[in-house]
């Protein structure tokens, strides 16, 4: 009869923790030039790309792993990781959905990825990346009719080398940071999107990433270019099986928006978070950055981060074009022993550039959640404006919320606002819902969703529901 106390509702199991039993073509652990050459050769890449990878590798070998984040974890053994794993195929790769291993399709079925016709009905074009290889890209034709290129990165390397050479590494250079540099050397696949001048992409684009093979890292690389006046909305979802050891995920996403272009990039990240004792889980070290290169360009990041043992990511915007707009909307949940150090960087270069950062951190169990954000206004950014709001919600007594805001303002005409709050789900709120006949878990979900509402409403409709459900699953057992 007692009211569940808030310290106890978060313990359902991870629903995507199955392993697909597929023969994989995996290179031995460890990283040297021969591995990079092997990856590049397997993909039949042009020479410039191989050269770029090798430069990145050499640079990486001179770098040291950074430790400034508010995270604690076992050292990563970079020599123990396999840097390439692909499901074995009779031929080199699937030519169409019919060629895709049915077990793989069943995996996606379990994940709820709308492949096949369901996807078309939902108006979602899906690029599914399984370990390192892109499995199937749907709706190419309809997109092609609009002139939109949406394909696996490795395909772009062959079919659109000029675009790659022009844009790759221009937002996140291969020297950028330890993980981005590693990615630049060994990235295996990811998505490539090019939306030509004046085209509104006719459907939501979507990629599902899944890490399957044991002791592998996943290093996907995504590059999205919206040419002048173009617009595109892109969503990525991520899952991984349950494994006792930690797996490394170090992705890079680069977005480029030219004059009057808009890119909306949404992430629902549900990598395996580890078990209740903090065993296993994905180490998620991701570099995401967009550049508003043209006037009136707009880049919007929305992320719902419920998974991973460790999350280290700061989707950022370089606001170079005048009147350009950068936005970051984030919900990050940490339960059990999950740790997240996440936030955004807004770099204002152009005049009258505007940015918004809305960050909602939810901590439960022994979870640790840090917001880290930089707002930088350069001397050229006359009239720049930023609004930052970070709110933390604590559930239980053993979790933590931390805020690390950095401000660098070098133009006196800039306007900066920062709001922060920390709150708890109160017994009063919970009892109020219970007294209206709403069960404890539903009540907590309702209160947490309310807390996240300003972020959820930024997600594409069909994913807002998914995000809400995911949040509910990840907080199961947080009260009980």
């Amino acid at each position: 009869m007692s009211t569940p106390d808030i310290d106890a509702l978060v313990n359902r199991s991870y629903r995507h923790g199955f392993v697909t039993d597929i023969d994989a073509d995996t290179v031995p652990p460890g990283l040297d030039e021969s591995v990079v050459r092997l990856i590049s050769r397997k993909k039949g890449e042009p020479q410039f790309l191989l050269d770029w990878r090798l430069r990145a590798l050499r640079h990486w070998q001179s770098m040291r792993e950074p430790h400034w984040a508010h995270l604690r974890y076992q050292p990563i053994d970079y020599d123990g990781i396999s840097y390439y794993s692909a499901p074995k195929q009779a031929s080199d790769g699937p030519k169409s959905l019919a060629d895709v291993d049915p077990k793989l399709l069943a995996t996606y079925e379990k994940l709820g990825v709308p492949l096949h016709e369901r996807a078309r009905l939902a108006g979602v074009a899906v690029d599914a990346v399984f370990d390192s290889v892109s499995v199937a890209t749907t709706f190419k034709e309809r997109l092609a009719a609009a002139g939109v290129v949406f394909c696996p990165f490795s395909e772009a390397a062959q079919k659109h080398p000029a675009l790659l050479e022009q844009y790759l590494g221009t937002v996140v250079p291969y020297t950028d940071n330890f993980y981005a540099t590693l990615n630049s050397a060994v990235f295996s696949d990811g998505s490539f999107v090019y939306v030509p001048r004046g085209v509104r992409c006719p459907m939501e684009l979507s990629t599902y990433f899944r890490i399957n093979a044991a002791k592998t890292g996943q290093f996907e690389r995504t590059l999205i270019i919206a040419d002048e006046g173009a617009s595109v909305s892109y969503l990525e979802g991520c899952t991984a099986p349950m494994r006792d050891e930690n797996q490394l995920h170090a992705a890079v996403v680069e977005l480029i928006a030219l004059d009057d272009a808009q890119i909306k990039y949404s992430t629902v990240q549900n990598w395996y978070p580890g078990d209740e004792q903090g065993r296993g889980g994905i180490y998620n070290f991701v570099t995401k950055r967009g550049e508003c290169r043209g006037r009136n360009a707009r880049i919007s990041w929305t992320q719902v981060e419920t998974g991973s043992a460790i999350t280290w990511k700061y989707p950022s915007c370089i606001l170079r074009g005048e009147n350009s707009v950068g936005e970051f909307y984030s919900v990050a949940t940490t339960n059990h022993y999950q740790q997240a150090d996440t936030g955004s960087k807004m770099i204002h270069i152009g005049a009258n550039t505007r940015s918004t950062i809305i960050s909602k951190g939810i901590s439960a169990g022994h979870g640790q959640n840090a917001y880290r954000g930089l707002v930088k206004i350069l001397p050229t950014a006359v009239g720049a404006r930023n609004f930052t709001q970070c709110d933390s919600l604590l559930m239980g007594k053993h979790c933590g919320a931390h805020t690390f805001p950095y401000l660098e303002v070098r133009n006196p005409t800039a306007t900066i606002e920062h709001e922060a709050s920390t709150s708890r789900i109160s017994e009063e709120q919970l009892f109020y819902c219970l007294q209206r006949g709403i069960g404890a878990e539903d009540a907590v979900n309702m209160i947490v969703s309310g807390f996240c509402r300003t972020v959820f409403k930024e997600l594409p409709m069909e994913f807002a529901v998914e995000a809400q459900n995911l949040l509910a699953v990840s907080l199961e057992g947080a009260v009980g």
Partner: protein
Amino acid sequence: MSGTAGTSAPAAASDAAVPLLEVRDLHVRVGEQAVLRGVSLRIRVGEVHAIMGPNGSGKSTLAHVLAGRPGYEIVSGSATFEGRDLFALAPEERARAGLFLGFQYPVEIPGVNNAYLLTAAANAARRERGQPELDAFEFLALVRSKMSLMQIDESFLGRGVNEGFSGGEKKRNEILQMLVLEPKLALLDETDSGLDIDALKVVASGVNSLRAAARAIVLVTHYQRLLEHIVPDFVHVLARGRIARSGDRTLALELERRGYDWIGEQAA
């Protein structure tokens, strides 16, 4: 306005032999403090009771204990609701069984809009009664009629639960929720406090609209004022954790005239 909640209630509910609520010799502590010291109360369907008493007499505690709020220790005594052991039920089960508490200080739940909470609450009750859930259109039709009775603007549905509401709006919202949920037993805790006379009339008409043969209403109040608008069948006076006196509405008038000290002396 019809009480559809009552029509599908088990036969026992309308059986006069089984009271809707029966509280027997209830002793409750908060920490070391004995707050209720032997309260007995019997409420039948169709009745309106007022529980009055000075501050700290235990009247709000009684309402909250019956609703299942945590933080109270039930030392001894019992409470049954339609013959079921009330204290064996979780708070949400009591609510779904038809027990409603109108809060004195309704809490704010930022970002959760009123429509969402109301739909979730209404459907929880409907599931319990084996009725189909309401879809968005049916819900809107239902809630609109109640809102006009409570003189609440439709924009209210999209606002966060009690978020930035004035004191009067919060109280009207409580009554609106009650009208939508159509409980068998409504415990209204100081629903009149902080209301001006116009708002009081609106709240009273909302409560009166729910008076029905199949349900009971308990008004917990400090002042006689509310009882001019919602006329009770029975008045009880709580003092020092016990019901010091029970009577009809004339008891409330006598209290108004003589104050609570008079009762306190008698109870001591």
